[in-house]
């Protein structure tokens, strides 16, 4: 287990709040809410957006069901597929990269309040945009449904280490290749939950 300390930082002082620092394999520290704002932020903002993951997921072979890669920062290059997808397509699991500054490799799985279990993963925010097929005009995508889910590590004391993105057409898992699209962009950042 690497002892990676993440930070949200800000524009002036880059090491303010921890996202989730694992100083010990079973001890997890979360962002200190008192440090989430900085003088560089506008007064109306509740928190800055500084992604812990941003990149592009593609299937270089262009073949549905083919190997998937992540190009960007914050996640490992190898993307796995969820076998629960009956079609064998459309369900992609990104693994957070715990080796990067600003990303401790895990998100908080439950609210801060003792005993609280709702909502799960209260502060994860993910944005997904499918790229259209450039070979057709207009370059649209046929994918109609996009969902995200968060996978908690089975290791006690470790938070959410994987993010799943599910792309479907009428409920059928579909890869964003060919006429269905040309990969997808993904951004993940950590919000701050309510007190």
């Amino acid at each position: 287990m690497n002892h990676i300390v993440g930070d949200l930082g800000d524009y002036q002082t880059p090491r303010l709040g921890r996202i989730e620092a694992r100083t010990h394999p079973f001890v997890v520290q979360h962002l200190d809410p008192r440090k989430e704002r900085s003088r560089a932020m506008s007064d109306y903002a509740v928190t800055p957006v500084q992604p812990i993951v941003q990149g592009l997921v593609t299937i270089p072979s262009g073949t549905p069901g083919g190997p998937v890669i992540f190009t960007g920062k914050g996640a490992l290059p190898t993307v796995t597929r969820d076998p629960a997808s009956g079609s064998g397509q459309g369900a992609f699991i990104l693994t957070l990269d715990q080796g990067l500054p600003g990303n401790a490799g895990a998100l908080q799985p439950l609210p801060d309040q003792p005993g609280a279990t709702f909502p799960a993963v209260p502060d994860a925010r993910t944005l997904v945009t499918v790229r259209g097929d450039p070979n057709i005009a207009p370059p649209v995508t046929t994918i109609t449904q996009i969902a995200v889910a968060y996978i908690t590590s089975p290791t006690p004391g470790v938070g959410v280490t994987q993010i799943e993105i599910v792309l479907t057409i009428a409920g059928v898992g579909t890869d964003p290749v060919g006429t269905n699209g040309n990969g997808f962009e993904v951004v993940v950042w950590k919000g701050v939950e309510s007190p």
Binding site: D43, Y44, V46, P119, R125, A149, G171
Partner: protein, 155 residues
């Protein structure tokens, strides 16, 4: 802010909408209350007008100029077992106009196959919402010049 950025992205509200016992609940920052709209799958988020130490957003009583409102919605996949997918195939945002043409309400609409649905059960497991102000930033030192409220049209 980097010199190539057009504007900082600093949310005035962000969080997760979940359905508990049939009622919508918002967990996050910047939203003072959540209500159902007139149809299933329609939710009204009331932006907080008063800042508190735990919830520092200051939209103010004048609300937000809708021309500069920017929102994102991401549905969380169903947690009923199996593939965490969603049936929701249409998502939209609008800002109901209020007196004075400013807004303090963000309306989120979720639809599956043409019918409004809640993001619960097979339809999903809540949805993430981010609202930010799209006109932040100045050529020289936005932090020194941007002071709320955000709605600053001539009255």
């Amino acid at each position: 802010m980097t010199d190539y950025a057009a504007a900082p992205l600093q949310p005035i509200a962000h969080g997760v909408i979940t359905i508990v016992s049939g009622n919508p609940v918002f967990t996050g920052k910047g939203v003072a209350a959540i209500f159902r709209g007139a149809f299933p799958g329609t939710f009204l988020l009331v932006l907080g007008a008063v800042a508190t130490p735990q919830n520092p957003s200051i939209v103010g009583t004048q609300g937000l100029d809708p021309n500069f409102a920017r929102s994102f919605v991401t549905v969380r996949g169903q947690a009923t077992g199996g593939l965490p997918s969603t049936t929701i195939d249409q998502k939209s945002i609008d800002y109901p106009t209020q007196l004075g043409a400013n807004v303090s309400i963000v309306r989120v609409v979720l639809v599956a196959a043409g019918v409004g649905v809640d993001p619960s059960g097979v339809n999903g497991n809540g949805c993430e919402v981010i609202v930010w102000y799209g006109n932040a930033g100045m050529p020289t030192g936005y932090s020194a010049t941007l002071v709320g409220p955000l709605f600053n049209k001539p009255q």
